[in-house]
């Protein structure tokens, strides 16, 4: 149930697969994964949440701050795919569903850019 982050750089888009558990102890790890991508000029991101078992408000905060950073100057976006029902419920509760473009699968999310 630890956090496992896998990054796959495609031609125009990067896919960040987030598995396991994000809480306030490891949210900084997730944040630096996103930062390392953006520092390399990659702002078209897909977060594949298929393996995400748990996310607390500290993790949601990272998603929103990354979303903001990607959209700045219209240079990109953070889109979500494969959101498990329980995580979708949390996004909803946090009023975050309207902020994100959410896709059923990662192929669709990558192809949307």
């Amino acid at each position: 149930m630890a956090l496992d982050i896998d990054i796959r750089n495609l031609k125009r888009v990067s896919v960040v697969s987030i598995k396991g558990r994000v809480d306030s102890s490891n949210a900084p790890e997730l944040e630096s994964a996103f930062h390392s991508l953006m520092d390399n000029g990659r702002y078209r991101l897909v977060a594949d949440l298929g393996g995400l078992e748990y996310i607390s408000s500290a993790g949601l905060r990272v998603l929103v701050s990354t979303l903001k950073a990607c959209r700045r100057y219209n240079r990109g976006d953070l889109r979500l795919s494969n959101v498990p029902p329980r995580i979708a419920e949390v996004l909803n509760l946090a009023g975050m569903t309207p902020l994100f473009k959410i896709f059923d699968d990662t192929v669709g999310a990558v192809g949307s850019f």
Partner: protein, 146 residues
């Protein structure tokens, strides 16, 4: 208190996973369904994160004690610490409808606790420390589940 489970851990973020697994297992054992287990787990995680980050402000030698028990139609959790008290009534609610560019990051912890649990009470006492009590109402247990 006959049927209570208690956990005490150091007030550090790396203990959150121990807390989380403890409360999930105790809630399951008390007969809560998996969706409710998840909600309880999340409320407890937010409460303990606040204790570690705000009450203890990163000072690592404080302890957190969780206790939980099942009554006929509730699951009751208390979380105790000896950090600094605060006034929850002064914390503004998050503005969940705000546009992305003006939205305040953070400030979701207390909100989640209130949304995911049926009751949340804070108590501050110079001797016994701070206690947050969270109650989840559940369907009364049938004889079979016992």
């Amino acid at each position: 208190m006959p049927d209570e489970c208690r956990l005490t851990v150091p007030g550090r973020l790396d203990q959150l996973i121990i807390i989380s697994e403890f409360i999930a297992q105790a809630a399951r054992q008390a007969g809560l369904d998996e969706r409710t287990v998840f909600h309880v787990q999340m409320a407890v995680d937010e409460a303990c994160t606040n204790v570690i980050q705000h009450a203890y402000q990163g000072i690592e030698d404080g302890e957190i004690t969780l206790a939980c028990r099942r009554t006929d139609d509730t699951f009751v959790i208390t979380i105790q610490d000896h950090g600094r008290p605060f006034d929850p009534t002064t914390v503004p609610p998050p503005d969940l409808g705000a546009d992305l560019d003006v939205r305040r990051l953070g400030g979701l912890g207390l909100y989640f606790m209130h949304r995911l649990m049926d009751e949340v009470h804070f108590e501050f006492n110079a001797e016994t420390g701070n206690t947050v009590t969270m109650i989840k109402r559940i369907a009364p247990q049938s004889q079979d589940d016992r």
